[in-house]
C-alpha cells in the first residue's frame, strides 16, 4: 500500500525534475562514450592494416581491411612471449604466498585476548604510513641478493597491509560461537583458520586474489629497477618498451624482421589488446566482488 503511494507520488514529476533527469542522463551517456571510445579505437586499430592507419589518422569507428597480421607479429615476438611467461611465473608463486600471509595477519589481528597483539598490530599498521622509500628498498634488494632475480618481484610485495585489514574485517564477522566450539573440541588455530574461517570468508579471498592478481599483472616499476636482463622482464615492461620508451630492448628483435615495419603502428594496438584483454575479460564477472572489496575496505578505512 505504502509503496503504491510512493510510486504515485513519484509519477507526479514537475517540469524542473524532468529537465534535471534529461540533463543527467545526457551527461552520463556522454561520459560513457568518452570512456568507451578510446578502448574501441584501440581494438579497431589493432585489426587495421598499417597503411590505412598511417594514411588515414584520426577518428576510427570500425576496423578497416580486417587483418590479423599485427597479432601474428605480436604473438611470435620472443620478448612478448618471455614477458608473458615471466609474469605467469611471478603470479603462480606470489598469489599463494600473498593469500597465506594475508590470512595469517588478518586472523591474528581479529583475535582477542592475545597479550602481545597490540604491539604486533602496531608494527603491522605502522608500515602503512611510513616506509623506507625507493632507494633503501633498492639497496635492500641488492643486499639480500635478489637483484636480477624474479624473487625481487615476488618477496617485497608478499603482503599488503591494506588487504590484511580487509581480511581482518572478514574474519571478525565470523560468529565467535563457531570458533569457540572448535576450541572446546580441541582444534588449534591452524585447524580453525583453514577448516572453519576459510570456507566462510571465500568471497573475501576471491577479492584478495583479484586485488593481488591485478596488482602483479599491472606492475612495472619494480621490475624496471630490480631486473637487468631483458628476458626476465614481465609483460608490462615489454609493453613499455614497445609503446613508450624508444628503448633498445626491441631493436635487435625488430631489425631482423622486415615485417615489423609493415605493422609498426598496428602492433602497438594489438599488444595493448593482448595485455589488457585477460583483465577486461574476467572483469564483468568479478565486478561485484571488487565492489564488495572496496566496501569492506571502506568500513575500516
Amino acid at each position: 500500500m505504502n509503496e503504491k503511494l510512493m510510486k504515485a507520488k513519484n509519477r507526479k514529476i514537475s517540469l524542473g525534475d524532468k529537465i534535471f533527469s534529461i540533463v543527467n542522463v545526457t551527461v552520463l551517456i556522454l561520459l560513457c562514450l568518452i570512456t568507451i571510445y578510446p578502448i574501441w579505437y584501440v581494438v579497431c586499430a589493432s585489426f587495421t592494416e598499417n597503411t590505412y592507419l598511417v594514411s588515414n589518422p584520426g577518428l576510427l569507428l570500425r576496423p578497416h581491411g580486417f587483418t590479423l597480421g599485427a597479432y601474428k607479429m605480436a604473438l611470435t615476438h620472443p620478448l612478448l612471449l618471455s614477458g608473458y611467461r615471466n609474469i605467469l611465473i611471478v603470479m603462480c608463486v606470489s598469489l599463494p604466498i600473498n593469500i597465506l600471509l594475508t590470512l595469517f595477519a588478518g586472523y591474528f589481528m581479529a583475535s582477542k585476548k592475545v597479550l602481545f597483539k597490540p604491539i604486533i598490530q602496531f608494527l603491522i599498521l605502522f608500515t602503512m604510513f611510513f616506509s623506507g622509500g625507493m632507494i633503501p628498498m633498492y639497496l635492500n634488494i641488492r643486499g639480500l641478493g635478489l637483484y636480477n632475480s624474479l624473487w625481487s618481484l615476488i618477496l617485497p610485495g608478499a603482503m599488503s597491509v591494506y588487504n590484511a585489514i580487509i581480511c581482518r574485517t572478514a574474519v571478525e564477522a565470523v560468529p565467535e560461537s563457531l570458533t569457540e566450539s572448535a576450541y572446546i573440541d580441541g582444534a588449534n588455530d591452524l585447524v580453525i583458520l583453514f577448516r572453519i574461517i576459510v570456507p566462510l570468508v571465500k568471497p573475501t579471498i576471491a577479492v584478495l586474489l583479484l586485488y593481488y592478481g591485478v596488482g602483479h599483472w599491472n606492475s612495472w616499476f619494480n621490475a624496471s629497477i630490480y631486473l637487468r636482463d631483458n628476458d626476465k622482464l614481465p609483460i608490462q615492461n615489454i609493453m613499455r618498451a614497445i609503446l613508450i620508451a624508444n628503448s633498445n630492448v626491441l631493436n635487435s628483435a625488430a631489425a631482423e624482421n622486415d615485417r615489423a615495419n609493415q605493422f609498426a603502428e598496428a602492433i602497438k594496438y594489438s599488444t595493448i589488446v593482448l595485455t589488457t584483454l585477460p583483465v577486461l575479460c574476467i572483469y564483468p564477472f568479478v565486478q561485484k566482488y571488487f565492489v564488495k572489496g572496496v566496501m569492506i575496505g571502506a568500513v575500516k578505512g
Binding site: 578502448i39 608478499a158 609503446l243
Partner: protein, 319 residues
C-alpha cells in the same frame, strides 16, 4: 623488604600470564611469525636503510662501511640549495593540487548523478562502463595517451577538425598537466565513485520523503540531504588523500614525461629516480634517500594536520 616481595609477586604474576598466554595463543604467534619476518626484511630493514641519508654512501662499501655525512644534514642541505629544488617542489604541489581540485570532486559528482538515475539497467550499464578504465594498466594507459597525443594522433585530428593546428601534445609543456589530470580522472572516476555510491545507499530514505512533502525539488534534495549525508565519507577520503599530497603518481609521470617537458613535469619522486638511476654518471643514493625521507615526513605531517582539522570541524577523523 616489602617492595622486594611485591616485585617478586609481580614478576611471578607476569610469568604466569606469559605462560598462560603462550599456552593459549602459541599457534597464533606461530602464524604471525612469517608475517613479522616479511615485515622485518622488506619494511623495517629499508627503514633502517634510511640512515643512508645521513651517510656518504658508497655501493662498494655498503651501509655499515660508508662514513657519516659531514655535517649530518649535508644531503638535505644539498637538496634545498639544489637549483632544481624550487622546480620539483612547485611541480609536485601543483600537480597534486590540480589532481585534488579536479580529481577529488569528480567521482562525488558522478556518484550523485548515478544516484539520480531511476532506470536500474541504465544505472548498471553506466557503472560497468565507467569502472572499466581502472583495470587498464598504467603502462597501457600511458601507451594509449602516447599514441593519441602524437603529431598525427587522435587529439591533433580533433584539433584540426575544430580549426586548430596539429601538434605533439606530450612534447608541449603547456599541455602536460592537462593531459595528466584529465587522463587521471578518465581512469579513476568510476572506480572512486563506488565508495560514495555505497555511502549514498545508506542515507535514510524518509528524509527525502519529508523534503518532498516540504516541496523540495530533486536538485534541492541533492544539495540539502544527499551531500550532507556524504560528508563523513568525503572527509575521511579527503584526509587519506591529503596524507599523500607529495605522492603524485610518479610512475605515470615517468611514463609520460620527456626532456622537453621536465620544467612542468619533473616532481620530487621522478627527480630522485633520475638521481639514483642516471643514464650516465654515478648514482647519488644518499641525496636521493634524503629527498625521499623529506617527502615521507611532509606526507605524514599533512596527514596529521588534515586529520586534526577534520576532527575539530566535522568530528570525523582517521585516528
Amino acid at each position: 623488604m616489602k617492595a622486594d616481595s611485591v616485585n617478586k609477586k609481580n614478576s611471578q604474576v607476569l610469568g604466569k600470564r606469559l605462560v598462560r598466554d603462550w599456552n593459549l595463543n602459541k599457534w597464533k604467534y606461530a602464524m604471525i611469525v612469517p608475517v613479522l619476518i616479511y615485515l622485518a626484511f622488506f619494511c623495517y630493514k629499508p627503514m633502517y636503510g634510511l640512515i643512508v641519508a645521513f651517510k656518504d654512501y658508497k655501493l662498494t662499501r655498503g651501509i655499515g662501511g660508508s662514513g657519516w655525512a659531514d655535517p649530518w644534514y649535508k644531503w638535505f642541505a644539498s637538496f634545498v640549495s639544489d637549483p632544481y629544488f624550487p622546480r620539483v617542489l612547485k611541480n609536485t604541489f601543483l600537480i597534486s593540487a590540480l589532481t585534488i581540485l579536479f580529481g577529488f570532486p569528480a567521482p562525488i559528482l558522478l556518484a550523485l548523478l548515478i544516484n539520480e538515475v531511476r532506470n536500474g539497467i541504465f544505472k548498471r550499464m553506466v557503472q560497468t562502463i565507467t569502472y572499466m578504465p581502472y583495470f587498464i594498466s598504467l603502462v597501457v594507459m600511458c601507451g594509449i595517451i602516447n599514441v593519441f597525443c602524437k603529431q598525427d594522433g587522435l587529439f591533433s585530428q580533433i584539433a584540426v577538425l575544430f580549426g586548430g593546428a596539429a601538434q605533439n601534445y606530450l612534447a608541449n609543456p603547456k599541455y602536460f598537466r592537462t593531459v595528466y589530470v584529465l587522463s587521471d580522472i578518465w581512469q579513476k572516476i568510476g572506480w572512486d565513485s563506488i565508495i560514495y555510491l555505497a555511502a549514498l545507499a545508506g542515507i535514510d530514505q524518509e528524509q527525502y520523503e519529508a523534503a518532498r512533502v516540504d516541496g523540495a525539488n530533486r536538485f534541492r534534495q541533492m544539495v540539502y540531504i544527499t551531500l550532507p549525508g556524504l560528508m563523513p565519507t568525503i572527509m575521511i577520503l579527503f584526509i587519506l588523500r591529503m596524507g599523500n599530497i607529495l605522492n603524485v603518481g610518479y610512475e605515470k609521470i615517468l611514463l609520460l614525461y620527456n626532456a622537453s617537458t621536465y620544467e612542468v613535469a619533473d616532481v620530487i619522486s621522478t627527480y630522485t629516480y633520475r638521481l639514483s638511476f642516471p643514464a650516465s654518471g654515478t648514482p647519488m643514493y644518499s641525496k636521493s634517500t634524503a629527498i625521499g625521507l623529506f617527502n615521507t615526513l611532509v606526507n605524514v605531517f599533512f596527514l596529521l594536520v588534515t586529520n586534526a582539522i577534520s576532527k575539530k570541524s566535522t568530528k570525523s577523523g582517521l585516528f
